[in-house]
Amino acid sequence: MNRTDATVFVVDDDPSVRKGLLRLIRSAGWQGEAFASAQEFLAQAALSRAGCVVLDVRMPGMTGPELRDLMAAQGISLPVIFLTGHGDIHTGVDAMKKGAVDFLQKPVDDEVLLQAIQQALERHAAAQIYRQELERIQACLLSLTPREREVMEYVIGGWLNKQIAAELAISEKTVKIHRGCVMHKMDVHSVAELVRQCETAGIAPRLPTAG
C-alpha cells in the first residue's frame, strides 16, 4: 500500500483538536485533511481517495454517528474511527456494531490512534480489493443468460447434472452446455471457485430437496 496515497480525514468541530490531530497524522507519515463539520466534509472531501475518517462523535449539526450512517447510506465506504470526549458506552457499542473501526476516548494516545488509522487504512485497502472483485463478479453475472443463471444456482447447490436436467425438464446435455458457459463467463476453473464467487456476490444456491 502506498501510504502517500491514503488520506486520513478528520472531522471535528474544535479547531485545536483538528490542528493537533492533523499534526499527529502527518508525523506518522500520512496525509491528513480536516473539516469542521459533517456538511463540510461531505461537500468538500475527495471521497474517492483511499483513506479513512477520524470522526468526532459530538458535533453541532450532524453528529459523527449520523454522518457515518449517511455515508453508509450513500455508499461511501471509508472506514470510520470515532473519537469521543465523553465516554458514552451506548454510542460506542452502537458504533462498533455498525462497523466502525474503533471508538476511542479523548484525549487520545498517539499509538492508539495511529494503530487504529493503520487498521482502518488496511481495511479500506482490503475493502477496495474486495469491491473490485465483486464488481468483476457482478459484471460476469450480468453477462449470464437467465437459464445460465438458473443452472448456476443449481450447480453451486451441489446438484448433479442429471438432477438439474430433471428439475428444469431439459436434457442433461443442455445442462452441461449451460454449465460450460457459466464456467467460462464467470471465469472460474472449478465449481469450488464458482461457489466462492457466488458467495461473494451473494447468490444463494438452490438447495437440494430431500430425496
Partner: protein
Amino acid sequence: MSPEYSAPRAALEKRLRFETLLADLSSEFVNLPAGEVDREIMDAQRRICEFLDLDFSVVWQRSDEVSDLFLATHFYGVPQVPQPAERLKDEDYPWFKQQLLAGRIVSFSSLEELPAEAARDRESFRQLGTKSNLTLPLAVGGASMIGVLALNATRAERNWPDALVKRLQLVAQVFTNALSRKRVEQALRDLADRYKTITTTTTDGFWEIDHSGKIVDSNDEAGHLYGYSRGEFLTKSLSDVEANENPAEVRAHLEQVMAAGYARFETRHRCKNGHIIDVEVSTTYRPSSETFLAFLRNITERKRAEEVQRKSEGRLEASVELAGVGYYEVDFGESSSFADERFGDICGVPAGQQQGIQRVEFWIEHIHPADRQHVLEERRKAHAGEIERYDVEYRYLHPAHGQKWIHQLGCVATRKATRHVIRAYGVVSDITERKLLSERLRIAADEWQTTFDSINDLVLILDREYRIVRVNAATVRFLGLPLERIVRSVCSPLMHGTPCTIDGCPGQKTFQTNLPANLELFHADSGKWLLVSTYPIRDAAGTVIGAVEVARDISERKQTEAELQRLRSHLWHVDRVAQTGAITASLAHELNQPLTAILSNAQAGLRFLDGGNADPGEIRAILADIVHDDKRAGTIISGLRTMLRRKETPRETINLAHTIEEILALVHSELVSRHVDLRPRLEPDALVLADKGQVQQVMLNLLMNAAEAMQDQPADQRRLELTLTRTDTGEALVAVRDSGPGIPEDQQDKLFEAFWTTKNQGLGIGLPISRSIIESHGGRLSFTNNPDQGATFFFTLPLAMHADPSVPGASSAARPGAA
C-alpha cells in the same frame, strides 16, 4: 408807813381814797371783756396790796374737774415774795383748805391766832413767810364757791377790822362776778365754738328753721347739698326743698320731732337744679324758740349703694342658686343659723332661719368618719384665725340620698375683740358626680399608664423640637437611664448617639409631611436593631404639635433575616453546584477538547523530533498551540471554580457580555450534545454591579431550561437566541429565546414556585432562585410566550452608574485564576 385809822382827817381821806378805789374797781369790771378779766384782777390785787400795804395776794379757783382742788390762777406779790405753788396742797394746808371748802372767811393777824388743829398750816404759812392772812370766798350769790381771794402780809402783822373785811368782801364779789361772767362767757364761747365747729366741719348739712319753715341759719354744706350758696340758701324755706310727695309722711315726721324732741328719718328733697335727692334728716325741736335744728345727709349715694347691694345680693342669690351652691350662716353670738334651700337639699337639713345651732351638730355627725377629723381641723384653723377660710372636700352621709361628696368653703365673718367667732358662713356644693368622674378618670389614667408601661415596644412622645415629653417604662429600661435624664432631653443623642437628626429620621419626615414614617435603625449602645415608626400628634385645630415614636426591637427579626439570607445564599450555592453538576459530563467533554489537542500536539512533536527531521518552526508552533490550549483549559477550570465556589464574593462591576461568554464556554458541549443551535448577540459595553457567579448561575439555568424545552423538537429545529442589549431606562436586558413549545397557560403561574418542575430530574428550584438572584440585584426576571413559537425568558439588571476602570471593557474578560 403803817396806816393810822384813828387819825380822823387822814382816816377820812384814806377811807375816801379806799372807797374811790373800790368804786373804780367796780366800774372797771362792769363792762370788762372776758379776755381782760384776768389782767384786771391781778392789777386790782396790786392796787389793793399797795393801798393796804400788803405783800401778796393769790386767787385760788376751784378746778372744774376735781372739786376740792384749788389752783392758783391770779397772783400779785412784792418783788421779794416767792410765787405760790400751782395748787393748794392738802398736806400743807389741811385746815385752811377745810375752811375754804366750807366757804368760811379765814383771817388771822398772827400765826399764833391759828387754832391748834391748824398746826400744819401754821408751819406752812411760816415757811411761806406769811404773818397775817385774810382769805375771802368767791361765791356766786351764796351758792357754789368758785374760789378764794387771799391777801397776805409778810413783813409785819396786820389787823383785819370788820369794816375792812366787809369792804374787801365787795372786792371779792366783784372778782367773783367777773370770774363768773368770764366763765359763763367762756362757756358760751366754747359752746358757740363747738356749735360752729360742728356746723362748719360736719360734712352734713345743717340748718335751723323756724316754725314757718324759713331757714334762719345754715352751714355751707347745707347750701352745697342743694346747690345753693349759703347766702342764697338763707333766703329759702323748707317748702323750697321738701320733695316728699307723701304729705302724710311729712306731717308724721313733724309730729314725731315735736313730740319726742328728736327724730331721724329719711325723706326726699329737691335741689336747686330740680334733682331729687334722698336725704337723711336728723332733727331736734326747741320748743322755747319753736325752731328745728337739723343735720341733713345726702343719702342718694348710700341709697344707690344699698340698691346696688340689694341687686348684687339678689344676683348673688340667683347665681348661688344657679351654681347649685348651698349657702349657710351660723351666728354663734345669737345662737342661730340660716341655710338656704340648696344647702338643705345637699345636706339633708331643713332650710331657713333656725334658732340654736343644732344644724351644725347635725352636719358634723353626718360627715364621713374617715373625713371628719380633717374637716373639723380645717374649720378650727379658720375659726382660730390661722387661715382666711377653709376649703375642704369630704364624704357626707346624706340621710336620704346616701353617701355623696361635698366641697365646702367656709369663712369667719365677725369676731369679738377676744377673737371669739361670732358669725361664720360658707357655701357647699355637691361634687359627687365630679368625684365619680375624676375617680373614673383616675382609673382610666391608671389603666392607660399601665397599658402604656406594659407595651414592650418603646413609646416616646416628642414635641416639635424633638424633645422627649414622655416615655413608657420600656423606653426607660431600654435606655438604662434615670427618667430625669430622659425627659426633656432631645431624642437624637439618646436614640442614635448623634447630636441631631440623622438621614431618614422618621420624626423629621413626619414633621415635614404630616404623615407616619419609619426607619430601621441600629442602636449602637445596646447592639439592637430597631424599627422606628413615627406618627403625628395633632391639636384640636389639626396642627401637628408633636409626634409619637414607637420603636420595636427587631433584632430577632434581623437575625432571622440574616439567617434567611444565609440559607438563601446556601441554597443558591447548592443550586448552582447542582446545575453545574448537571452539566459535568459536558464540562468534562469541554475540557477534553483542549486536552486532546495538547496531547496530540505534544506527541506529534515528539514524533517529529524522533524522526530526526523536526522543523524548529513547526515545533515552535506546536508549543505555542499547547500553551494556548492549556490556557483555554484553564479558563474552563476557572469558570467551573466560579460556579462551584462556596464563599460569597462582594458584587463587582462586571462586563455582562464577557460573563455570559464564560458560561457559554462551559455549556458549549452540552448544547452541542443537545443539538441546540445557539446564536448569541451580545452588546459588548454593558457593565453591571453584580455577583458574577450568581449571574452565570442564572444564565446556566435559563440556557438549560431552554435546551430542555426544545428536546422534543426535531434536531434541526432547536434554535436558541441569546441577546444582550442596553435599554433606555439604564438597564441591561438579557433575553433567552427558544423554539420550543412555549409555556402552557396552566403552568405559567407555577413556573416560579419552588419545587415545581415538569422535569424528571432536578429539584425545581432553579427558576425561583434565578428570580430571587435577579431581584436581589435590583432587576426583574420574567418570561413571555413568543408570538410564533417557543418562549423567551428575560431578565434586567441595572447598569452600573460609574464604569469601574479596573474592569476591562472590550478586552477578554477571561482572567485566569480569577475567582
